[in-house]
């Protein structure tokens, strides 16, 4: 005998089943590119590896340049006393939010054939991408460094002045003293560089095998509907950023134990 209760159970079950079959269908649709993506990664696909390596080369170079330029700027902004210091601090803080496409456009204008640096023929080369990303990242590194060094300066100021350290010398001392905290600034810069699309797209041109990096490839392949490569790159990008962060965290923890 079929009761009302049985009927209700039947309806609930059937709706659960229909929902789960829908989920399965979706998972399958999503799964296929995921499997292909995994095969690309596991098989160390040459094209994929080339794109990843170029990304790393461009963004690490840009971050390195940004650190060499931005960290002394940040330290001098924290420690120095000169006219226009406050305005510069506001400027660098503001430039942290610089839109990549605008930086790309400016570097494009500089490097294009008719531009002031056109004679070097750098447009659509990895070098152009490094320049654009370095410009994008330097304010970030400088502003974050200034914050770290300003905090240290308030603690060390009297002692360093008492020992006779000039302000530039104090800035150098504090940079060295804050070397582990400053990994955060470098990391924020690298994170920005590696994840950015607009600037490298404009000045690099997304040329296959020459200037194609992870982010530009993801953008292109997604719009073409070729999801596996885009997904594989997306996964690598996330894994890369996460593991670099983990590494920096471990370094700081070690430094804290080692040096206090």
């Amino acid at each position: 005998m079929i009761t009302a209760v049985h009927l209700r159970v039947f309806f609930v079950l059937s709706s659960v089943l229909s929902v789960s079959s829908e989920v399965l269908r979706l998972m399958h649709e999503f799964n296929e590119p995921l499997v292909t993506a995994w095969q690309l990664v596991a098989g160390a696909d040459a094209r994929l590896a080339g794109i990843v390596l170029l990304s790393l080369r461009v963004s690490l170079s840009a971050t390195l340049i940004a650190c060499v330029a931005g960290m002394p700027i940040g330290a001098l902004l924290a420690v120095g006393r000169f006219p226009g210091r406050r305005a510069l601090i506001v400027l660098f803080n503001g430039l942290m939010g610089l839109p990549p496409v605008v930086v790309g456009l400016l570097v494009y204008l500089l490097l294009s054939r008719a531009g002031p640096l056109g004679q070097f023929g750098l447009l659509f080369s990895p070098t152009a991408m490094v320049i654009a990303q370095a410009i994008l990242v330097t304010p970030i590194v400088a502003a974050l460094t200034r914050q770290v060094i300003a905090d240290a300066w308030s603690e060390y100021r009297e002692q360093l002045r008492s020992l006779g350290a000039s302000r530039p010398r104090a800035a150098a001392t504090l940079l060295w003293d804050g070397r582990f905290s400053l990994t955060t600034a470098a990391l924020a810069g690298f994170g920005r560089a590696i994840a950015e699309v607009g600037a490298v797209m404009i000045v690099g041109g997304n040329i296959d095998g020459v200037t194609r990096v992870m982010t530009t490839t993801i953008a292109l392949e997604t719009s073409k509907g070729d999801l596996p490569l885009a997904l594989a790159l997306g996964c690598i990008l996330i894994a890369l950023v996460l593991s670099i962060n983990a590494l920096a965290y471990a370094l700081r923890a070690w430094a804290q134990r080692r040096w206090g």
């Binding site: 603690e155 060390y156 009297e158 002692q159 002045r161 008492s162 020992l163 006779g164 350290a165 010398r169 001392t173 003293d177 070397r179 582990f180 430094a255 080692r258 040096w259 206090g260």
Partner: protein, 228 residues
């Protein structure tokens, strides 16, 4: 005795408040302790003399230029070894690396920390850090050592050790100018007491006289409030 430093109508005003008000003083004693209640301007006076602050009125008249070093209430250690911290000040003065190392080790030995030379300075105890700070000051071989409440955050054993080192530095020829809230310590270290209250120099008296019969009522009140 000849005054090695004269303060003439020294004043410091910050944001409309007078922190040091028309201070005129002659320093002739080799060991002077500045006493006074919290907020009297003791630390500010030391910073003016050391040159960390610029007076807004009056002037400091040095008999001759003196090399100085200062030890603060809370020692500031760089993230490096104890030895490198001691050497840092010498390096700034432009001494050769080898001489720095030698003088640094010597200074650490004199504060009894030679065995900790290679240890990270920030991981030392508060008392040990203050001794490294004393070694750092001593290595500069200052003619005047200024100390701002050097034992304020230390336990009794560390305080005794720091006091012993201050005594040794004084014996090595440096003039001592310090503040403390520990009256026993002031009595043990000082030749002269300078008593200040609310930014004004109230009295300057030889130490025994200050503790037995201070000249001013303010100083009498200050001493009476001390818990025996």
């Amino acid at each position: 005795m000849n005054a090695w430093l004269k303060l003439q109508h020294l004043g410091l005003t910050e944001g409309g408040t007078r922190i040091i008000d028309d201070a005129s003083l002659s320093f002739a004693a080799r060991r002077t302790v500045v006493l006074g209640p919290n907020g009297a301007g003791k630390s500010t006076l030391l910073r003016l003399i050391h040159g960390l602050l610029r007076p807004s009125a009056g002037e400091l008249r040095w008999q001759r230029a003196m090399t100085q070093a200062m030890v603060f209430q809370r020692p500031v250690m760089l993230r490096t070894t104890a030895l490198a911290n001691v050497i840092y000040g010498l390096g700034l003065k432009g001494h050769a690396a080898k001489e720095c190392e030698q003088r640094g080790r010597q200074a650490l030995a004199r504060v009894g920390l030679e065995s900790l030379a290679r240890r990270p300075a920030r991981l030392l105890s508060g008392g040990e850090q203050q001794r490294v700070a004393l070694a750092r000051a001593w290595a500069l071989e200052p003619e005047l050592l200024i100390l701002d409440e050097p034992t304020a955050s230390l336990d009794p054993a560390s305080s005794r050790e720091v006091e012993r080192i201050i005594g040794d530095i004084a014996a090595s020829g440096a003039r001592i100018l310090m503040t403390t809230h520990n009256l026993g310590q002031a009595r043990r270290i000082a030749e002269q007491i300078v008593f200040i209250d609310r930014g004004c120099i109230v009295e300057q008296t030889p130490v025994e006289q200050f503790f037995t019969m201070p000249r001013t009522e303010a100083a009498q009140r200050f001493l009476k409030d001390e818990i025996p």
